[in-house]
Symmetry: C2
């Protein structure tokens, strides 16, 4: 029995390690994508696009390991809940990586000018989104249900950011019709960042569920803006 417990703990530790690695890469990819946008660094942006494959490969490893754990150890109750949560969290982190890739792909289509209002707001929004991802992954690593609840709460600030940026963008487009094509890309980047926040909340919800066996209260979970 002792032996079985240790084997499971070892497996789950490995699973969590892979996810921490994925999470670190995804978080970094978002931050770096914004950096390449600011620096007009097309090569760096291309590297981020190519680097997404590493995140995808880790997800495949997580899946294979999770399936092996379920099949070999037949974990029950809390243990099974933890393996399934890990599997799902890996899926969400992979999507966060996709958003980073998507932002990086748009770098060549946007000319950076810090004084253009929609662009000036974007870095702070990105920082907020990246922090949410980091906090969600920290909550996962520490099995911290309260930390998870705080991540969900901060999604409102990100949504407010997005809503105000949406209005700023529409106004900017009206006043500068020539920039509409570019600003459409900025709009998609803003939406991607808003979605990154939603995914951080998804991770947080799963951490909360795996840690407590209960879903987060509806009021803590936030709601996406319609825009």
């Amino acid at each position: 029995m002792e032996h079985t417990v240790k084997a499971f703990d070892h497996d789950i530790g490995q699973l969590r390690g892979l996810i921490a690695q994925m999470g670190g890469l995804a978080e970094q990819a978002i931050a770096r994508a914004m950096e390449t946008l600011r620096r007009q660094d097309l090569e760096g942006a291309a590297e981020i696009v190519a680097g997404d494959k590493a995140i995808d490969a880790l997800q495949i490893q997580v899946e294979a390991l999770a399936v092996r754990i379920i099949a070999l150890r037949a974990p029950m109750a809390d243990d099974l809940r933890e393996v399934v949560a890990a599997l799902k969290i890996a899926g969400v982190v992979e999507r966060i990586g996709d958003y980073a890739k998507n932002i990086a792909k748009r770098v060549p289509s946007i000319e950076w000018h810090s004084e253009v209002e929609p662009l000036s707001v974007l870095p702070a929004m990105a920082t907020l989104a990246v922090n949410m991802v980091r906090d969600a992954l920290d909550a996962f690593a520490a099995r911290d249900a309260e930390g998870a609840t705080r991540v969900a709460a901060s999604d409102r600030a990100l949504d407010d950011f997005y809503n105000s940026l949406f209005r700023i963008l529409v106004t900017h487009m009206m006043e500068n019709p020539k920039t509409i094509g570019q600003m459409a890309h900025v709009l998609f980047i803003a939406k991607n960042l808003e979605r990154v926040g939603d995914h951080a909340v998804n991770v947080a919800e799963m951490v909360h569920f795996a840690a407590t066996g209960a879903h987060m209260a509806e009021r803590d979970r936030g709601h996406s803006p319609v825009q």
Copy 2:
């Protein structure tokens, strides 16, 4: 042994049935969301938003059943590949449902006028996306690798549609600055439909892999437009 095989076949049949049900709902939700947009049917749109919960609930059932199958039957090789594919396909179908919900949420923000060029193009694009979803699910039901390859091939047409709509939208916004806010919503709907196609391709890839054990050739898989 006979007994075990039958039990597995029964389980996997049930799993596939749940996914077919999810797929039907998701496909319908996209088609109906477009219909409510055309008819300016706000109530219908709200129903689609609420109805997404049914798709989410089915996904939870699929997950629980897949985990139970893996733990109880410890399937190997092809069988395990099929269960994992089903689990992943359910995740993708859930996302397709989310896109339908997202389209439906935008209905109140868009005034429908069939003669407005970006709007006039949208229904045909939606039909193409819905057909791809249907074909991908048919390929899944029939374990049809060739059918799956055809779905992936038709993604190019959807991407071309999206690219041309992107240009139409930018031009329309330039010429009608007052509609920019509305047209931003139309742009997001177009992007959602393009993403629905990508997800149909994802399903098709998994069907191909589950049926043949080999990944689809890179050239068949299509690539997302940058816009």
